[in-house]
Amino acid sequence: MSLIELKEVGYSYNGEQKAVDGISFSIEKGSYTTIIGHNGSGKSTLAKLMAGLLPVQEGSIHIDSLKVCEENMPKIREKLGIVFQNPDNQFIGSTVRDDIAFGLENRLVESEKMEGIIDEYAQKVGLSGFLDYEPQNLSGGQKQRVAIAGILAMKPEIIIFDEATSMLDPKGKKEIKKLMYDLAGGDDITVISITHDIEEVLQSDECVVLNKGKLFMQDKPEKVFAKAELLKKIDLDIPFIEQTRDTFMKKKLKLKAKDLEGMAEELWRYRSNR
């Protein structure tokens, strides 16, 4: 069984228009899944439903065979953490140290054990020297890393990043994206990233495309972007590499490389052979 299973999930904020409508898909353990779609396509609502922050009105969501519902919430919270878009709105403690401790206090971790856990996860996100810093003395990227450390300290199996890089500068974006890849790659954490960053989607294992609250597509990123015409119909961006591949394809030249460097080499070889 998959780690996360959604079956015909539906949700409406006002009882009339559905923000999420009959969505079904599954996510495998240890995978890096990206969820894309326009604003208002239901991405964040879906994240909140998975995290149990909104009640599932229709269908069902199972996390590691546990149904997401009120009575299972304590167990679900142990398995799943969520990092939000605005780093300022999730900084609860007065310092980095206190903020990481917040989740541990809720988890009833003993005071003596907290210091070690805080140090370990601050080091993991590269904030060892910033433990006594206040939020206003940190950059956006650093604040977001604090939020990630706070979640990691609770040792979840799944982390949802709800547009966690969208409010950051390019440097902050790069730092957080690297951290996200490392978590999925080295720590066996299942990462779900809600994003508008098409380049990030290319690096993921699986891509879910939402449109107007409904599931539009779910597949490997390269397969999703191979259906460029379909994506264009819902006005979604196509990555530059896929646009280039598509253009050469029309000229009867099939390029297989997954990145720009590889594509350049392929083109160079093609030119040399001619």
Partner: protein, 266 residues
């Protein structure tokens, strides 16, 4: 507005910073009570001296504390005007046009102003030397006896702590909205009273909207990290009273007692 220090924690190491938050809270209540009791300038001078020593021990500049008085200036002027217009007892000091200014009007205003300034500086001293989270623990401890009446002490303490934590963020937000509105031609400084009210509304409405949005997101973030109001939690910071804390409380009790004595004898 960026220079506001009221409610802002100043992260330095000092004697006052190291004191237990509970001792500081008890001290705050005693000192504020002491400020409201006396009717003698000597008693105010004594409280001011004690406060000055506390400020030096906190390594917080007097200029910084003086900044926290700024928002009160308008209120003080308003108070002075009201007193001048309504209090006509005591010696006539001088006339402003046809308005007589009496000794009691000036004296009473000064009395209230001194009390306010002392109170603000005591509160600023507490918030500047105590981390919001420590303040939460202190408030929770002080309110603990009310739990017998099912009073939600932890929730109240958490609310206060978050409110304090978000003061700098809200100030930043206010500045941002002010600049955005200024760039669209809103004038916050000039114009008639009705124009000023309209200008302020253009600041308050988006500010409230953003504050509510922040509150919802913060609630989601807290819930996602396992926070359940009223549920049992462990503590990262365990509070412990030390000798310095007992001494600090004793000094505050002494000031409070001296203040009562001054009321009786001076």
């Amino acid at each position: 507005m960026n220079n506001l220090v009221f409610g802002k924690y100043i992260p330095i190491d000092s004697f006052m910073h190291r004191l237990d938050p509970r001792a500081k809270l008890i001290g705050l209540f005693l000192m504020i009570a002491a400020v409201f009791i006396p009717k003698s300038w000597w008693a105010f001078l004594m409280i001011a001296v004690v406060e000055l020593i506390a400020l030096l021990l906190a390594k917080i500049g007097i200029r910084m504390i003086a900044q926290s008085f700024k928002p009160m200036i308008v209120m003080m002027i308003f108070l002075l005007v009201i007193n001048v217009l309504t209090l006509h007892t005591g010696e006539l000091l001088f006339m402003i046009g046809s308005v007589p200014v009496h000794h009691d009007a000036i004296f009473n205003t000064l009395f209230v102003v001194v009390r306010l300034l002392l109170m603000i500086s005591i509160t600023t001293l507490l918030t500047a030397t105590t981390k919001p989270l420590d303040l939460t623990l202190g408030i929770e401890w002080i309110l603990k006896p009310l739990e017998v009446f099912r009073f939600p002490t932890h929730e109240i303490a958490m609310m206060v702590s978050i409110a304090l934590r978000f003061i700098p963020t809200i100030i930043e937000e206010t500045m941002r909205i002010m600049n955005a509105q200024k760039s669209r031609g809103v004038d916050f400084e000039n114009g008639s009273l009705s124009q000023k009210i309209t200008s302020i509304l253009s600041l308050i409405v988006p500010l409230f909207s953003v504050a509510f949005e922040r509150a919802y997101e913060l609630a989601d973030a807290m819930e996602a990290r396992g926070y359940v109001p009223g549920a049992e939690r462990t503590r990262y910071h365990i509070l412990k009273f030390h000798l310095a804390d007992y001494l600090f409380i004793l000094i505050c009790i002494a000031v409070f007692a001296a203040s009562i004595l001054s009321r009786i004898f001076l």
